[in-house]
């Protein structure tokens, strides 16, 4: 439900002219709420940026979010990030 609330926040911000990008770990809510820009990770609840202490992983997720912000051209995009949970190497 955190993902639904986040999407609702994005909708209000964008209507007021503030750009936003959301990290989603529950695709169903993101599809339904239609925030303007989201990245989706099939990761467990409580871990949208990854694992504690894994700075490279957290940065990789942030980079994906910011890249979408820079490249998205139409509203409602959900970028499926292929990072596997605990089985990915980050540089």
């Amino acid at each position: 439900m955190c993902n639904r609330s986040g999407g609702l926040i994005q909708r209000v911000l964008e209507a007021e002219g503030i750009s936003s990008v959301g990290v989603s770990i529950e695709r169903k809510f993101t599809e339904e709420i239609k925030p303007p820009r989201s990245i989706y990770l099939k990761w467990p609840y409580g871990h949208p940026l990854g694992e504690p202490g894994n700075v490279k992983q957290q940065r990789a997720v942030m980079n994906k979010a910011f890249e979408l912000l820079e490249t998205a051209t139409q509203p409602g995009v959900i970028d499926d990030i292929p990072f596997r949970w605990r089985r990915e190497k980050y540089d």
């Binding site: 986040g6 926040i9 209000v12 936003s20 409580g46 871990h47 940065r59």
Partner: protein, 172 residues
């Protein structure tokens, strides 16, 4: 809500984190909200010139601030201000609907406050906003009107006051 109910919620939250399939089954049961249009605010300029704020729905707030209301089982639509200079040890999480054991050890996995500061010092973004914002994302239908029409607009006004261009939103 009784202590037993809170205990039950936390136990469920642990199970949802360990078995994501359960979380998806529960999500499938929530009544959908419907929207026809999608608002769109284009990025105002290059990201390296943008001022960025964080909003999380992971229940983050200052240790000294009022915790989110866990006794109302339909949620709490209010928000907490988190100054971007807040040290990690002054942050707390109040949210019984996901397991935040890992986030308690590293807040950045739900609220990337230190990562954002790094991106600013490296020039990837222009600046970090003075204020970030925490919500507790378990907000059911009876609180949605207040959430959408009062609480989020109040945050939006503060973001405008701070000259924020971009917001990164993270769940719990």
């Amino acid at each position: 809500m009784s202590n037993f109910s809170r205990f039950k919620n936390r136990l469920l939250a642990k199970a949802l984190t360990r078995f994501p399939i359960l979380a998806r089954m529960m999500a499938a049961k929530v009544k959908p909200l419907e929207f026809d249009t999608i608002p769109w605010a284009p990025l105002r300029g290059p990201l390296k010139e943008m001022k960025v704020a964080l909003i999380t729905t992971a229940g983050v707030h200052l240790v000294d601030d009022k915790p989110f209301d866990m006794n109302d089982k339909t949620g709490d639509p209010t928000f907490r201000v988190v100054p971007s200079s807040t040290p990690a040890e002054n942050l707390a999480i109040t949210h019984d609907y996901y397991n935040h054991k890992d986030a308690d050890t590293d807040i950045n996995i739900v609220f990337p406050i230190h990562r954002l500061a790094e991106f600013a010092s490296e020039g990837r973004i222009g600046a970090v906003a003075e204020r970030h914002f925490g919500f507790m994302g378990h907000i059911e239908e009876n609180h949605l009107d207040q959430f959408i029409n009062e609480q989020i607009p109040a945050v939006t006004a503060m973001l405008k006051e701070d000259g924020v261009d971009v917001v990164l939103i993270t769940p719990g």
